[in-house]
C-alpha cells in the first residue's frame, strides 16, 4: 500500500501595510496561493496541488502560515509561492510577499522549527529595539520562553511571540 505522504510548507507573510495582518485568514490566503499556482503552473498544476491542499495553521500576529500539500506536488507549490503579491479580503488588496521558512514532512517537525525560529527572531528583535519599553517587553518574553524549556522537556504548544 503506497503511503499517503504529505509535505508541510512553513512560510511567513511579510507586508509593509499593517492592515494586511487583518486579512491573514485561511480562505483569503488559500485563494491567493491557489491563484498563484494557477497562473504559474496552469490547470494541471492547480489540480495537482489542490488534491490535498489545506491551510493548517495561521498566526496573524507573526504572519506565520503552514500549508499542506502532496509530496509529489510540493515543488509546484513552493515555486509558485514567490508569485503571491497581494492578499485580498473585503474587496481590498494589500501588497505582501511570502517567505518560505521550512518544508517538513510532518506538522511536528515544522512546529519544532518554528519554535527555534521564533527564539532567534526574538533575539534579533531585542537587538533592534529602539526604546527601553520595547526592550523590557522583549526581554521578558525571552526569559519566560527559555525558562519553560528547562522546566518541561516536551515541546510547548504556545510560542512566546514578541509583542509588536
Amino acid at each position: 500500500l503506497p503511503a499517503l505522504s504529505r509535505r508541510y510548507v512553513l512560510c511567513e507573510v511579510v507586508s509593509e501595510d499593517p492592515r494586511c495582518r487583518q486579512c491573514i485568514e485561511d480562505r483569503a490566503l488559500g485563494l491567493a496561493v491557489k491563484d498563484a499556482i494557477a497562473r504559474v503552473h496552469g490547470d494541471y498544476g492547480l489540480a495537482c496541488c489542490s488534491i490535498s491542499f489545506a491551510v493548517k495553521y495561521l498566526n496573524a500576529y507573526t504572519g506565520t502560515v503552514l500549508l499542506r500539500c502532496r509530496k509529489d506536488s510540493y515543488r509546484l507549490l513552493c515555486s509558485a509561492l514567490p508569485f503571491v503579491r497581494y492578499l485580498e479580503s473585503r474587496a481590498q488588496r494589500y501588497p505582501c510577499f511570502l517567505n518560505t521558512l521550512h518544508v517538513g514532512g510532518t506538522i511536528r517537525t515544522c512546529q519544532k522549527f518554528l519554535i527555534q525560529y521564533n527564539r532567534t527572531q526574538l533575539l534579533r528583535l531585542l537587538q533592534n529595539c529602539t526604546n527601553e519599553e520595547e526592550r523590557q517587553c522583549v526581554q521578558k518574553s525571552l526569559l519566560s520562553c527559555s525558562l519553560t524549556e528547562e522546566q518541561a522537556q516536551s515541546e510547548d504548544e504556545e510560542e512566546d511571540d514578541g509583542t509588536e
Binding site: I37, A38, R39, V40, H41, G42, D43, Y44, G45, S79
Partner: protein, 100 residues
C-alpha cells in the same frame, strides 16, 4: 507533425505558434508557455506542422495540444502523426504503409 481540422479561416504560421503557446499556458501556466517550442515547418493548406521541443518538454507539449479544444470559438483538434528524436525519421511515416 500535427493535423488541425477546421471549418473556416486558417491560421498562418505565427497564429499557429500563438495557438501552441496558448495551449501550453492554459494547461501548464507561465512555466509551460515559457517552454521553447519551434515551428520548423508549417503548411497552411494541410494545416500540418513539424514542431521541435526539448525532450523533457514533450509530455507537456503533447498533453497541452491534446486538450486544446477551441480556435477562435471553433472546435478543433490536434492529431499527432509522428514523434521522433530525429528529423529525418519524419520524412517517412510507417503508419501510412499499406499491406499489399
Amino acid at each position: 507533425r500535427r493535423e488541425l481540422p477546421d471549418g473556416g479561416a486558417r491560421p498562418n504560421a505565427a497564429q499557429f505558434k500563438q495557438l501552441v503557446v496558448t495551449a501550453l499556458r492554459d494547461l501548464h501556466g507561465e512555466v509551460g508557455a515559457a517552454l521553447p517550442v519551434d515551428v520548423l515547418t508549417y503548411e497552411e493548406k494541410t494545416l500540418s506542422a513539424i514542431l521541435r521541443v526539448i525532450s523533457s518538454g514533450l509530455v507537456k507539449l503533447w498533453s497541452a495540444l491534446t486538450l486544446l479544444g477551441f480556435y477562435q470559438n471553433r472546435r478543433c483538434a490536434f492529431r499527432v502523426l509522428q514523434t521522433s528524436p530525429f528529423l529525418l525519421a519524419l520524412s517517412g511515416n510507417s503508419r501510412e504503409l499499406v499491406l499489399d
